[in-house]
């Protein structure tokens, strides 16, 4: 230490020397050294991240142009290097913007937009270009063709890391067979060790983008993911920021940039969910913070009101005795009708009375007169002698309490616990009143913070001199009760340009915006997948027995609206061993890495899955079983844990919605599993009884020496089954057919019965009609059969006819057809 100091003293040039070494770092240089922050930490991961960035860009581009995405990904292997090719059918890029999109970090159209999109910062694809050039030394080769252009543009470029600008080495036009779209070719040092994650990424992308067609060609494999729907995601609309979601710096920038002059106009123009009324509420909150409130004192009671009248009368000169008296009494009367009065309110009253009396007497109360009257009346309200302020400032020790002390004593006494000694409260009120008396601003204006300080001071003094406790709660209560009688001032807020220059003023405005209750932001900026398409996506990629999905209503977190969706697939070909698969998505982008750090995983682990019919060792953690749980968080600003966008941060509002969405889907799973279990039980019972009862019937027949008895009815009854039985009675050439539906269960059943007959039937019962097709007649009924009852469907037909009944609407486990 000492030696350094002595050196410093000896060589005054050191600071300059050090300063010479300081220089600005370009963002590109920074990321060159911090590749991991963008997800390029290893060759294996770099390849996945590059695919991800390129595909995300391609999907965004195509969707924005209203084109159903058709994306081709190819990975070629060449020794230690891999070539990645991603082609899309998007709108293409113009010659001017193309180099910047791929060759400049933090260049993009979305960073400033409050709208759901995959990419946001404009880092991803240029970072991939940067990574490629760093590891292989080769430039990115980009082809792009805009719709209607006769030829495609071809560029070879790298990122100039010193300048963070694209450095173009080849620029030419070329022929390309796609009518529009973009193709990027990157050569990079990489390996396929993360092939699993790559496949997950592509497959999961296909799940949440059922409108996209994806193709992946690897050195030794080729995958195609076809579209499940032709419906593009609902177009999103950019929204203005929500007042709850902006920070001070942003607001200062917005203030500087806006065209509005008034704060009210600024708020209504630049923010979402702010109209005239909300703007006024925000401005009131701003006033309280910026100007403070004025203390409203209780005026002298009517019997003392003479004080005000007398004071005003004394202070008013040259207006004629009658007019003066009317003026003074008018003010005194109005004031005494009020519970409390603040300075600006008194000012208004004086003004009003002056106008009225002035009209009555055809005279004018000039501003000087008004000021004097106001001064006198205010002094009367405060209970000080108007002649000399100095006198009032030094209250006599034994004098009767001042009006202010009495007033503050009442407020404090009501606000604090009854156990507090009156003397203590009184001493506290005297000290607090002192603050008001000492205020330079005779209007008694205080911000909440200033008031808090004053109360603390009075309380501290009380504690010190009276040796009693005046605790936090008591102080807070007094603060609340005094603040609540104080009145927001009517001062006009500063103009926008004044505010823009004032950090404190802007800060007061931001605080005011936060404090105001404002409706949640609109959700048209979001494009949830919707529960139907989640199910469709899951069905497309997972062969399961059961699918459920839920889309929650939008919520707000930090001023950004968000929607959470969840889906579950169960059974079928999903692997039954081990824990379930959790598919995580943010703005339709699969999250492949850092599963353990993600809020979605935390929520899944925290749910008691045994409740929903899944195994969960130990009652917490990931459940086991043949299931896939997917979660999609869509937001104008998904809170990620890092720039590489691998994991959703643990934001309570979002976590709550994730849990609700999963539980909603899980409830359906539970219903399905319960039903499946009871059907399994029923099937098992049916299987055993289906064996035992015929054997019993056979044995009984043997013992009794008769033919085997009919047992369908008995079985139907035992299984609480629905039994459909045909009874045919012949009647000359025709046959009368009865289809008897017996419902042996305890719940009602709705059946769809179709009887297919080879001759034309007649006299159909229950309003059925017969439709002929190729010489067969289809008769349909939809009987409702309550539990324990039966229904009979009848018709006549030629006795030669044959029949075939088809019964739907009842689980096959519950149905016995004998016809």
């Amino acid at each position: 230490m000492t030696s350094l100091q002595s050196t410093l003293g000896d060589e005054p040039g050191i600071a300059e020397e050090l300063a010479d070494n300081q220089r600005a770092i370009s963002i590109a240089e920074f990321f060159e050294k911090n590749k991991h922050m963008l997800g390029f930490d290893s060759g294996a991961r770099g390849l996945v991240t590059a695919v991800k960035e390129a595909v995300d860009n391609a999907l965004d581009a195509a969707e924005e142009a209203g084109i159903l995405p058709d994306i081709y990904v190819e990975i070629q292997e060449a020794d230690d290097y891999y070539t990645l090719i991603v082609e899309d059918n998007g709108p293409g890029l113009t010659k001017q913007s193309l180099p910047k999109v791929f060759g400049k970090l933090l260049y993009g159209s979305r960073f400033h937009a409050r709208e759901q999109s995959r990419g946001q910062q404009g880092i991803g694809i240029s970072a991939a270009v940067l990574y490629a050039q760093l590891t292989s030394g080769k430039p990115a080769k980009i082809t792009s063709r805009t719709q209607g252009a006769s030829q495609a543009e071809y560029f070879e470029l790298i990122v100039d890391t010193d300048e963070n600008e694209p450095e173009i080495s080849v620029e030419e036009t070329t022929n390309w067979d796609r009518p529009h779209g973009t193709r990027i070719e990157l050569e990079m040092e990489a390996n396929m060790r993360a092939r699993g994650q790559l496949h997950d990424y592509i497959k999961h992308t296909a799940v949440v983008n059922p409108h996209a067609r994806l193709e992946l060609r690897e050195p030794k494999a080729h995958f195609k993911f076809e579209r499940a729907t032709d419906q593009l995601p609902a177009e999103t609309e950019e929204i203005r920021p929500h007042p709850h979601g902006v920070e001070l710096g942003t607001v200062i920038k917005m203030l500087a940039a806006t065209d509005s002059h008034s704060v009210s106009g600024f708020l209504q123009e630049e923010f979402t969910r702010v109209g005239k009324k909300t703007a006024n509420s925000i401005i009131d909150e701003f006033r309280d913070r910026h100007y403070g409130r004025e203390m409203a004192w209780s005026p002298p009671a009517s019997h003392e009101s003479g004080n005000i009248a007398a004071a005003v009368e004394n202070a008013t000169a040259n207006k004629g005795a009658k007019a003066t008296t009317d003026f003074a009494e008018g003010i005194a009367e109005t004031v005494s009708n009020r519970d409390r009065i603040a300075y600006h309110q008194l000012e208004t009253i004086v003004g009003n009375v002056a106008d009225t009396v002035g009209d009555d007497y055809d005279t004018t109360f000039g501003s000087t007169v008004r000021e004097k009257a106001l001064e006198a009346a205010w002094n009367a309200v405060l209970g000080v002698d108007g002649e000399g302020e100095d006198e009032a400032a030094v209250p006599e020790p034994d004098a009767e309490d001042s009006r202010l002390v009495t007033d503050l004593y009442r407020l404090s006494d009501d606000a604090t616990s009854t156990r507090k000694d009156d003397e203590i409260i009184h001493a506290f009120a005297v000290r607090l009143a002192g603050t008001f008396e000492d205020l330079e601003d005779r209007r008694h204006r205080l911000t909440q913070k200033e008031l808090e300080k004053a109360i603390d001071r009075a309380a501290d003094l009380t504690e010190e001199y009276d040796d009693v406790a005046f605790g936090e709660t008591a102080r807070e209560n007094v603060l609340e009760s005094v603040w609540s009688v104080m009145v927001t001032v009517p001062d006009d807020p500063p103009l926008v340009r004044e505010l823009a220059d004032s950090r404190d003023g802007s800060s007061d405005l931001v605080e005011g915006m936060r404090a105001t209750n404002i409706m949640a932001p609109p959700t048209r900026c979001l494009s949830p997948i919707t529960d139907e398409l989640i199910e469709a996506g899951l069905k497309k990629e997972f062969d399961a027995d059961f699918y459920a999905a839920a889309t929650r209503d939008a919520g707000v977190s930090g001023g950004d609206p968000f929607v959470v969706e969840a889906g579950i697939a169960y059974g079928g070909d999903l692997p039954a061993e081990g824990s379930v698969d959790v598919l995580r998505f943010a703005n339709r982008v699969p999250l492949v890495y850092q599963r353990g750090a993600c809020a979605t995983t935390d929520v899944v682990k925290g749910i008691g899955w045994r409740n929903y019919g899944l195994e969960q060792p130990g009652g917490s953690g990931l459940p086991n079983g043949p299931a896939v749980i997917m979660i999609h968080v869509a937001s104008t600003n998904v809170p990620f844990t890092s720039e590489s966008k691998d994991a959703v941060a643990n934001v309570p509002e979002i976590e709550d919605e994730i849990e609700l969405a999963i539980r909603e889907a899980a409830r359906e799973l539970k219903r399905y599993l319960n039903k499946r279990r009871s059907m399994q039980k029923r099937r098992k019972k049916q299987n055993v009884l289906g064996k035992i009862l015929p054997e019993m019937a056979e044995k009984v027949a043997e013992v009794v020496g008769e033919d085997e008895p009919e047992i369908d009815d008995a079985i139907a009854r035992i299984m609480n089954n629905v039994l459909v039985e045909r009874r045919v009675t012949e009647n000359g050439d025709t046959a009368h057919v009865n289809l008897v539906v017996e419902n042996h269960s305890s719940t009602g059943e709705q059946l769809e019965i179709t009887d297919i007959v080879t001759a034309e039937p007649s006299n159909l019962s229950d309003g059925a009609s017969a439709v002929e097709m190729d010489g067969e007649w289809f008769i349909s009924w939809n009987p409702d059969v309550p539990g324990g009852e039966e229904a009979t469907l009848e018709y006549d037909v030629d006795q030669e006819a044959t029949f075939d009944a088809d019964v739907k609407g009842v689980d096959s486990e519950k149905l016995t057809v004998s016809s």
Binding site: V703, V704, P709
Partner: protein, 362 residues
């Protein structure tokens, strides 16, 4: 085939027909039997024995378990009916093993309790005793010793036996179907049913049967049907008073109960098996106190059993309530052999004579 076996067979086939008809009517096959629990027995005032009440249990094919039971019942009916047709007989244990040979695995019995219970079910529903199905239990080995001359029909012809002179120390072994016995002559004064072998041997060694004209029936624990049946016949036909001599513990009171009132399991046969006039000679809880017998403390299950007996309709008499409550109070139980504490002859010289006198038997 005798008329009896014909009748039994007809009853069985009738039961099978019931199942057949139920199938035909689309009903769930079932049979109803009285519930065999202590809450469902009631005193038949006329015969003064305990019989089943009105509550019934349904054996129904509604459940997999019930269906299996009925399947086994039908197989058993077939077997019994064939057995009767061929005039053969078998033991309960044989039936259990025999089911293994049936072609249907579902019809195999899981254990002998199951086959025994099924036979009881069939007895009740068909109102035919198992003896008439030609089903026998294994020999229980119960014996009689005393001045009684009888004739037994055996498979090797009729035998005349005197139950003192023609038998060894072990006594006359009661056959499975005591109705094949004809009583010829008896000098007996009363019947003394004894629970344990040790006490029976003591009585025989001391010549109690000779000295007091006692027919000593060895119950061998819970008495078999044959033992109870012969006891009833001795009472009814020879007009002998019946006394029961057991340990002083709750399980032994149940032995008395089944001799005197009929057992819960075979209450449908009470009229045929129970001897309501039988009297409990001892050892009574009061004797424990009076003779200061060596004792063991009651275990939890003893106490439980005693409390159960207090709610058992068969024991709801002043005498039993008094004795059981006394026992619960002293918290002790004693074996018959405890009397030996006062000398080997105490039981024959003093205890039993005193009790018999008290009871007005001799």
């Amino acid at each position: 085939m005798s008329a009896d076996t014909d009748d039994a067979r007809a009853q069985l086939i009738d039961l099978a027909s019931q199942f057949y008809d139920q199938f035909q009517l689309g009903e769930i096959p079932h049979m109803e039997v009285p519930t065999r629990s202590k809450t469902n027995i009631e005193l038949d005032e006329e015969a003064n024995v305990w019989v089943y009440g009105d509550r019934t249990s349904k054996r129904s094919a509604n459940s997999v378990r019930g269906a299996r039971k009925l399947l086994k019942a039908v197989y058993t009916i077939e077997f019994l009916s064939n057995q009767l047709e061929q005039d053969r007989s078998s033991t309960l244990r044989e039936l259990y093993y025999l089911s293994e040979s049936w072609d249907n695995k579902e019809a195999h019995f899981n254990d002998q309790d199951e086959s025994n219970q099924l036979i009881e079910d069939l007895e009740i529903v068909s109102e035919v005793t198992r003896e008439d199905f030609h089903m026998r239990p294994e020999e229980s080995g119960a014996t009689i010793m005393g001045p009684l001359h009888l004739r037994e029909q055996t498979r090797r012809g009729d035998r005349e036996i005197h139950c003192q002179e023609d038998v060894g120390e072990g006594g006359y072994q009661i056959p499975n179907n005591p109705d094949t016995i004809e009583f010829l002559e008896s000098d007996a004064e009363f019947v003394l049913c004894v629970e344990t072998g040790g006490m029976r041997d003591r009585l025989v060694e001391n010549g109690f049967d000779d000295d007091y004209g006692a027919l000593v029936v060895h119950l061998k624990g819970q008495p078999a049907r044959a033992t109870r049946r012969i006891t009833k016949r001795l009472h009814d036909e020879l007009d002998l008073p019946v006394t029961v001599f057991t340990d002083a513990d709750p399980w032994s009171y149940r032995i008395f109960g089944s001799v005197a009132y009929g057992s819960i399991k075979s209450a449908h046969l009470s009229e045929y098996l129970a001897t309501p006039q039988a009297e409990f000679i001892g050892i009574q809880p009061a004797d424990i106190v009076e003779y200061d017998l060596p004792t063991d403390p009651l275990t939890d299950s003893d106490i439980n059993a005693l409390e159960n007996e207090l709610t058992d309709p068969r024991f709801q008499t002043d005498y039993w309530e008094e004795q059981i409550e006394l026992q619960l109070e002293i918290d002790k139980k004693a074996e018959q052999q405890a009397l030996a504490a006062r000398g080997l002859d105490f039981v024959t010289d003093e205890y039993l004579p005193t009790r018999l006198e008290e009871m007005g038997i001799c």
